[in-house]
């Protein structure tokens, strides 16, 4: 182990020792033993474990979604990747689980290591923000104490900065790459290559949350993840005759998970118990019961996932030591004169290539019904796909303005019509959309100009429509009989 690694381990062991001492100071061990003897483990312990494992399954869903732009992972693989990271953190120091998890994700998805690590980092940032949000809400339900406020301040600072970084990578990827390239170029080709590679992969790592809907779904999943974890804390309360208090469970879960950011031994021994214990003691739970509760929560947290991790290691044929090394091995591509600085994968074709129901409904309302078409539905679908793709190509600032405008239109539609645009009957939908697209309100017309223009262009240049409107021979047509002449006037 390198010198720096040994230092991390030493700090972790020392920190854990201090927290163990703090946790057991003035603790009556006989009372702890009695609390365990009287504990109602059934059905609460299995329920707690089930809730925790379900949370990991949701983490797997989230992980799969985060890499879905560039890699296809099965849900089981994604869940195993997540669990493996947690398991490694339980048995190896210095949060090596994060690197092991990134290594396993890189191996199973084919993504570059840095990009995989970025996905992990992104999950951590989202987790931190969710925890802070839940803590702010739950803290109002428990007695006010200074250390919770300090925890919120420190957590807010750490995750706020991280969130800003993520936000920059999400909202301004080109700017980030550009600035990095310009700065790194001053330090020679090697540093330049490294900087550009690193930032490219960071940017690719956060690509999934670049749209509002996907960002929203990821944040939603993150909240669900932590609610399931809070479920574990909640289920174990009745085991020690602590009243079922969802807010206390959420509070304890938040402070415990924020608390274990403090360096400690693998498995967060000492820190976990101390912070969890202090959390429930705030509502008057005695120290022995609180300690017993914290110890059981820790066991529920530690044992199933560690065992699952060992099973994964066995199934995937890797050792924990190998996993620790994988992070070091999976280096970015070295920049060379004829080598790409970095290769980025193609975005996967997904069902997002299909137009949304909203766009189909909107386009259908904008298109005329002047031609009898063999397959009108297909034409509408093709036009809507084109319009949606075209609008997606607008520069970001204009795209956002359009998205805000269309969101406003949808909201007003619901408020006025008491149903969504998609649910409106075609005649009513057409009249409503035309009021916006061709009415006297200039801003609404501007909002719809791009939509209606591209829709009409695509409709009238669609093969089916052209075939109906441009017959090669049309009986009775009066042909122009102007005298052909070629006169060249003065310029």
């Amino acid at each position: 182990m390198k010198k720096r690694g040994r230092l991390y381990v030493a700090i972790g062991v020392l920190s854990s020792a201090i927290f163990i001492v703090l946790a057991v100071r003035r603790l009556e061990f006989s009372a702890v033993a009695k609390a365990f003897q009287n504990a109602n483990l059934l059905p609460w312990l299995p329920l707690a474990v089930l809730s925790y494992i379900t949370g990991h399954w949701v983490r797997g869903v989230r992980c799969r979604m985060l890499v879905s732009n560039e890699a296809k992972l099965s849900l089981s693989t994604a869940t195993n990747v997540v669990v493996f990271g947690y398991a490694v953190n339980n048995v190896l120091p210095a949060r090596l689980g994060e690197f092991a998890r990134a290594g396993m994700l890189a191996q199973n998805s084919g993504l570059p290591f840095v990009q995989s690590l970025t996905v992990t980092l992104l999950e951590r940032v989202l987790d931190g923000l969710c925890l802070l949000l839940l803590l702010v809400i739950a803290a109002g339900m428990v007695p006010d104490v200074g250390w919770v406020t300090r925890m919120l301040e420190v957590g807010g600072l750490v995750f706020g900065i991280a969130a800003l970084g993520v936000l920059l990578a999400v909202a301004a990827p080109s700017l980030l790459l550009n600035v990095t390239s310009r700065v790194a170029h001053r330090f020679g080709p090697r540093v330049h290559g490294f900087g550009v590679t690193l930032v490219s992969q960071l940017v690719a790592g956060v690509s999934f949350i670049r749209t509002f809907s996907s960002a929203l779904s990821i944040i939603g999943l993150s909240v669900v993840v932590w609610l399931f974890e809070a479920g574990m804390f909640l289920c174990l309360m009745p085991a020690f005759e602590i009243g079922l208090d969802p807010w206390l469970a959420v509070f304890a879960m938040c402070v415990t998970n924020l608390g274990i950011l403090v360096p400690s031994t693998p498995g967060f021994i000492g820190v976990f118990q101390f912070v969890c214990m202090r959390a429930v003691m705030l509502v008057g739970v005695s120290q022995p019961v609180a300690f017993s509760y914290a110890a059981l929560v820790h066991l529920s947290f530690y044992v199933p996932i560690t065992l699952w991790g060992f099973a994964i290691a066995f199934t995937y044929g890797v050792s924990f030591g190998e996993m620790a090394n994988r992070a070091a091995e999976a280096r970015p591509i070295e920049a060379g004169a004829e080598q790409p600085l970095v290769s980025l994968r193609a975005a996967r074709e997904t069902k997002s290539g299909e137009p949304s129901r909203f766009f189909v409904a909107l386009v259908e309302a904008l298109l005329p019904n002047d031609v009898a078409l063999a397959d009108r539905r297909q034409v509408v679908q093709d036009v809507a796909r084109f319009v949606q793709t075209e609008l997606g190509d607008l520069p970001a600032r204009l795209g956002w303005l359009l998205a805000i405008g269309l969101t406003g239109f949808r909201v007003i539609t619901v408020l006025v019509k008491l149903r969504t645009l998609e649910a409106l009957e075609l005649g009513a939908r057409r009249a409503w959309v035309e009021r916006w697209a061709y009415g006297s309100f200039a801003l609404a017309r501007q909002l719809f100009r791009g939509v209606r223009s591209t829709a009409l262009l695509a409709y009238y240049d669609h093969a089916q429509v052209r075939a109906e409107l441009i017959p090669r021979e049309k009986p009775g047509a009066r042909v122009l009989t102007l005298e052909a002449k070629r006169t060249h006037g003065a310029a």
Partner: protein, 488 residues
């Protein structure tokens, strides 16, 4: 892996980049052209507009110019650049414009006489000439209107020898008659030794003091994957077009008079319905221009497809949608103004590396457009049009001359105008006046030893005519001067 370093790196393969590549390669320089878009063959051209836009246009054609009056703007993004999707209309730079550039920008060695040989060369290379056959109905009707108004017109020469009149220029000429750069200059440059790499977008120029030492570029593969590559070059010519050239320079920290002086020719489209069957979709666009009112105003013919007609009518769609049934009797024309407003170009801070373009129509432009609306409407009604349909909200149609003449005095409110343009320039103006120019009289960027701009960006201001000829002539002049100084 392909050798990606070069003696001369040319960014862009449009009218400026292709000519530069040919001239430098002919003089024995090692030339590499990087083109962001794809390289397409004849089979890819002339496809329906939606397909063509996705392939040949920057951002699928969604590059509007923002301002109080948003203006639809498109440019090519493929080997050959915008010359692949324009009409092929050809003009030499008007004498007045060259005199103005000399006076106001101290542009050296760019008189009519000095540029003459370069125009001769370009016209010879592209087969520029007048149409060989009978004028199509849309042109003859326009001529009739001009004559009845007592004005004069000229047939505009085109770089499209043997044009078969498919009216699909904007989708890439399907017959190969139009001599866009991909059919003419680019193959000649390759024959002379230039290498052309398509699907490579330059993200940044790498500077070292007063030199550019290379670029960072994204190379797109057919499967959608991409590589970031770093290329080295002794000299760099940026020929990425009027919006992308300043955007790239700004992204690279080169700001001196870059991107602040964009000019455009704003156009207002007008559809006209005649008694006669015109079948404009089946013939070349109207070939005549009225220069009676130049430089403030030009009147001429516009592309026609069912989709394009619908777009023109769409400003007043509820009233005009029925006219789509009369499409065989309709043709489209335009009012173009010189463009005295001002605009700017900036790379976006957010999102992918897009470019934001802004242009504010001047009062003079708005007045000229209104007068042009009146003039063109009068002309078309005199030609026999039953109605004309301007792309102006709240003005569904004009069917009497008196209604048209009203706009000689009144100004169409800006909020009602729907404008388009395909001509943008002057975002890095050239000349010896350093206090207003970004590059010298030969395209060399001020403050840099080996960096040049050689495309529409360098035109000092609006030429008032289709700019392809001016770009090619100036680009060739600049390239030859560079080669004289640097060729072995």
């Amino acid at each position: 892996m392909a050798q990606l370093d070069a003696q001369v790196l040319i960014i862009g393969s449009g009218a400026g980049g292709a000519v530069t590549a040919l001239e430098l390669a002919r003089r024995g320089l090692d030339v590499l052209v990087l083109e962001e878009g794809g390289r397409y063959g004849q089979a890819d051209y002339g496809r329906p507009a939606p397909e063509a836009m996705r392939k040949l246009y920057r951002r699928g054609g969604m590059t509007p110019i923002m301002g109080r009056v948003p203006i639809g703007y498109v440019e090519g993004r493929c080997v050959g650049g915008s010359t692949e999707i324009n009409s092929g209309f050809w003009h030499r730079t008007p004498r007045e414009a060259l005199l103005r550039w000399k006076t106001q920008f101290e542009l050296a060695d760019a008189s009519e006489e000095e540029l003459g040989p370069h125009f001769d060369w370009a016209e010879d290379m592209l087969g520029v000439g007048l149409s060989a056959g009978e004028w199509p109905a849309s042109t003859r009707l326009f001529a009739r209107g001009v004559e009845r108004m007592g004005w004069s017109y000229q047939e505009v020469p085109r770089a499209a020898p043997g044009c078969r009149g498919t009216n699909a220029c904007a989708q890439g000429c399907p017959t190969g008659a139009k001599t866009g750069m991909s059919r003419s200059i680019v193959p000649a440059a390759e024959a002379a030794g230039a290498r052309v790499l398509s699907g490579v977008r330059v993200l940044q120029l790498l500077k070292k003091r007063d030199k550019v030492v290379g670029v960072v570029a994204r190379r797109q593969h057919a499967d959608g994957a991409s590589d970031l590559v770093r290329l080295q070059a002794e000299h760099v010519f940026v020929c990425a077009g009027p919006t992308e050239t300043p955007s790239l320079l700004l992204r690279s920290g080169i700001k001196y008079h870059v991107g602040n002086t964009l000019r455009i020719h704003p156009y207002l489209k007008i559809a006209a319905r005649f008694d006669e069957v015109v079948d404009a979709h089946d013939h070349v666009l109207p070939l005549l221009q009225v220069k009676e009112f130049w430089p403030q105003l030009s009147l001429g013919g516009a592309f026609f497809s069912l989709g394009q007609l619908a777009m023109t009518l769409s400003e007043n769609w509820p009233e005009n949608r029925g006219q789509m049934q009369n499409h065989r009797n309709m043709a489209q024309y335009y009012v173009g103004v010189r463009g005295t407003g001002k605009g700017w170009v900036r790379p976006t801070l957010f999102g992918d590396d897009a470019t934001l373009v802004r242009y504010e129509l001047s009062d003079e432009d708005a007045k000229a457009l209104s007068i042009g609306l009146a003039r063109l409407s009068e002309l078309l009604l005199a030609a026999g049009a039953r109605d004309v349909f301007p792309s102006v909200w709240g003005l569904p149609s004009i069917s009497k001359e008196a209604d048209a003449a009203r706009w000689l005095d009144e100004v169409v409110p800006r909020s009602r105008l729907s404008l388009v343009t395909v001509h943008a320039f002057s975002s890095c103006p050239m000349g010896e006046r350093r206090e207003v120019c970004a590059v010298d009289s030969y395209g060399k960027v001020f403050g840099f030893e080996n960096l040049y701009v050689n495309d529409a960006s360098m035109l000092p201001d609006s030429p008032g005519v289709n700019p392809q000829g001016t770009i090619m002539a100036l680009a060739r002049r600049n390239a030859m001067r560079f080669a004289d100084a640097n060729a072995a």
